[in-house]
């Protein structure tokens, strides 16, 4: 009995702060604080402010008041807004598909034993390395209504008789900016997929060759399925980059002609800063969120480890 009583005497409790600092969770929380502050200041605050602004009639130079869904109701009836949604979807879908197809093709080419392999791999990265504004200006010249090199070549060949008005006509302007975006985005897709291809052992293709697969079957039944996890990551990022693109359009067309190339990002900026309607611009930006969420959800499900990826190596 005496022994039990001795054990029951409570150990003197240490001060609360000390206990907190010495506990695993307390210390962890402390270490995460800097990152949390950073995220709050530079991510949560601007995002929250943007969402809030979307519910006000703030203009530049005037603090706004809460107006509820008025901005959204206004946008709902605004054909220019709907045009920008249409443009953004076309831009994203067409450019992403093109970037995927061309990037995969390029990656497959680079994965072969070409002479000067390293040189080509470095060159491929150039469009990605060059600042967007710079490459956009180059495209601005390429698409110039009078001095375009494309028009010049086609005219020399006798295909056309007068220069193409690349950025002057709504549909040619759309295709032109898409082409510029694809040019710029291919390196990211190609190099990432190349990295993925190099994780696939050569012996798998050899085994497939012995098993009787044609080149096309090796690609569809071995290479492509093994590449899907990487394709999911790469294309999610590519879609997000494309959907939120701003610089290229702003340098090339500023949304013209007649809003034919206005994306949601450029329209939001146009209305908010030069137009001064901060509330309305913010509402357009907030309207992008559902689309981006959809893309993230797609990646969430696409990135889940497939059954064959589970287990040890």
């Amino acid at each position: 009995m005496a022994h039990d009583e001795a054990a029951a005497v409570p150990v003197p409790r240490r001060p609360a702060l000390r206990r907190f600092l010495e506990s695993r969770n307390g210390l962890g929380l402390l270490f995460m604080l800097p990152a949390a502050v950073f995220l709050l200041c530079f991510l949560t605050y601007p995002l929250g402010l943007g969402v809030w602004l979307g519910f006000t009639d703030t203009k530049i130079g005037r603090t706004g008041v809460f107006v509820g869904l008025e901005n959204y109701a206004w946008l709902f009836d605004d054909p220019v807004f709907w045009l920008s949604v249409f443009n953004t979807l076309i831009y994203t879908v067409v450019a992403s598909i093109a970037k995927f197809a061309l990037g995969l093709w390029l990656a497959l080419l680079l994965n072969r034993n070409l002479p000067m392999k390293k040189f080509f791999r470095a060159v491929i990265l150039l469009p990605w390395v060059v600042p967007t504004v710079l490459s956009a200006m180059a495209f601005w010249w390429i698409f110039d209504s009078q001095f375009s090199i494309i028009s010049w070549v086609l005219m020399k060949w006798g295909v056309i008789s007068q220069p193409i008005n690349f950025l002057g006509d709504p549909w040619t302007a759309r295709w032109s900016v898409i082409a510029a975006n694809v040019w710029r985005g291919i390196p990211f897709v190609a190099i990432s997929l190349l990295a993925g291809l190099q994780t696939i052992p050569q012996s798998l293709n050899e085994a497939a060759a012995i098993d009787g697969a044609t080149r096309w079957q090796m690609f569809t039944k071995v290479t492509l399925p093994l590449l899907t996890p990487i394709i999911a990551v790469v294309m999610t990022f590519s879609v997000l980059f494309t959907f939120t693109d701003f610089q290229l359009i702003y340098v090339l067309t500023r949304g013209g002609p007649v809003n034919a190339t206005h994306l949601m990002a450029t329209l939001s900026f146009q209305r908010a800063i030069p137009g001064g309607q901060l509330g309305e611009g913010a509402a357009i930006a907030v309207a992008m969120i559902p689309f981006l969420l959809a893309a993230i959800l797609f990646s969430f499900f696409g990135l889940q480890r497939r059954r064959w990826q589970q287990g040890n190596d």
Binding site: E206, A209, W308
Partner: protein, 351 residues
């Protein structure tokens, strides 16, 4: 089943020739092991049989077909790779049936072919698993299963056991040999491990630097190695080599020790020779002096490393050796373990 004929086969990468004309005849149903140190060209040779490497010169025939220019899938062969090369995104059953699926065989028929192969290999309960969920030995079996399902003319194995641990390697060795006895399919097996070669082969092809050094049954190679390379490569521990001069009394070593020779063969008096001595042909109780350096008792046998005529030799004794390091013991040499080679060419002199 088919025979395989390799006739004057050459391979070069650019200006570098790695196979300098290899001739091997493989009979129907034979289990042939290509063995040699790394870089000897054995894997290249196998890949040329498979059609994965271009043939620079010579001819490969499977049965009576010249297959030099046939793609792998038309050669009617199956290959087991060193890293197994299982398709990670397919189940065991799908891996095994992949070749049938490619050739458009119906699902029910594929299952009919996969099941017996899986049963032979003890994989029947694993058919729905993915390769990642299997152990090394199980993956190895799936790779063999994939080969069996194809029912090919020739099996090719490229160092299939080198990724397994020592214990598993021994049991898989027996399993592969057993499998060959059941299926009787012509098999070409590449390894760098002479023990694997000795235990599994009907016929061993010893390769070195892109040429064939010797072809023969395992024990023929052991008993009558054609040259110094084969003598040193086959057998574990390796044969001891002692340099000396051949004379009427035997071989005189550098320090004057004279070793007996019963089968001089083509050796001439005064010729510089290499006296090859199998470690296991030594026994205690003779008049050849051996200065003990290290003794390694393993229970059944005792390994003794010591100095004989100024060179280091290893002996394997069936009896227990109690001599301490530095002591001299007298040994007796079994004439069957003595091989004479020409010092200059390395060619065998004994009959």
């Amino acid at each position: 089943m088919a025979s395989v004929t390799i006739d004057g086969l050459r391979k070069s990468y650019g200006a570098t020739e790695v196979l300098h004309g290899v001739d091997v005849d493989i009979a129907e149903g034979e289990f042939v092991v290509l063995v040699g140190p790394s870089g000897c060209g054995k894997s290249t040779l196998l890949r040329m049989l498979a059609g994965l490497e271009h043939i620079s010169g010579g001819e490969v025939r499977i049965g009576d077909r010249v297959v030099n220019h046939l793609p792998p899938k038309d050669r009617d062969i199956a290959m087991v790779f060193q890293n197994y090369a299982l398709y990670p995104h397919l189940t065991v059953a799908e891996n095994m049936g992949f070749s049938l699926k490619l050739s458009g065989v119906r699902k029910a028929q594929i299952a009919e072919k996969v099941r017996p192969a899986a049963e032979i290999l003890g994989l029947a309960h694993l058919l729905d698993r993915y390769p990642r969920q299997l152990s090394g030995g199980q993956r190895q079996r799936v790779a063999m299963g994939r080969a069996i399902v194809r029912d090919p003319q020739v099996f090719l194995f490229d160092e299939p056991l080198s990724n397994l641990d020592a214990k598993l390697r021994v049991s898989m060795r027996a399993e592969i040999k057993n499998l060959h006895q059941r299926l009787k399919t012509t098999t070409v097996y590449v390894t760098h491990d002479q023990i694997e070669a000795m235990t599994m082969a009907d016929k061993i092809v010893v390769m070195h630097d892109g040429i064939v050094e010797q072809i023969g049954a395992p024990l023929d190679l052991y008993d009558r190695p054609a040259n110094l390379f084969v003598a040193g490569f086959i057998g574990s521990p390796a044969m001891n080599f002692l340099n000396g001069v051949f004379g009427p009394d035997g071989v005189t070593l550098a320090d004057g020790t004279v070793l007996p020779v019963t089968d001089a063969g083509a050796a001439k008096a005064g010729q510089q020779v290499v006296y090859g001595l199998r470690p296991e042909s030594m026994a205690l109780g003779g008049d050849v002096p051996l200065t003990v350096e290290v003794t390694e008792p393993t229970g059944a046998e005792t390994y003794v490393v010591g100095q004989l005529g100024g060179a280091e030799v290893t002996g394997v004794f069936r009896t227990r050796v109690t001599a301490k390091p530095g002591e001299q013991i007298g040994i007796r040499i079994d004439p069957a373990g003595i091989h004479l080679f020409d010092a200059a060419s390395g060619a065998r002199l004994s009959h």
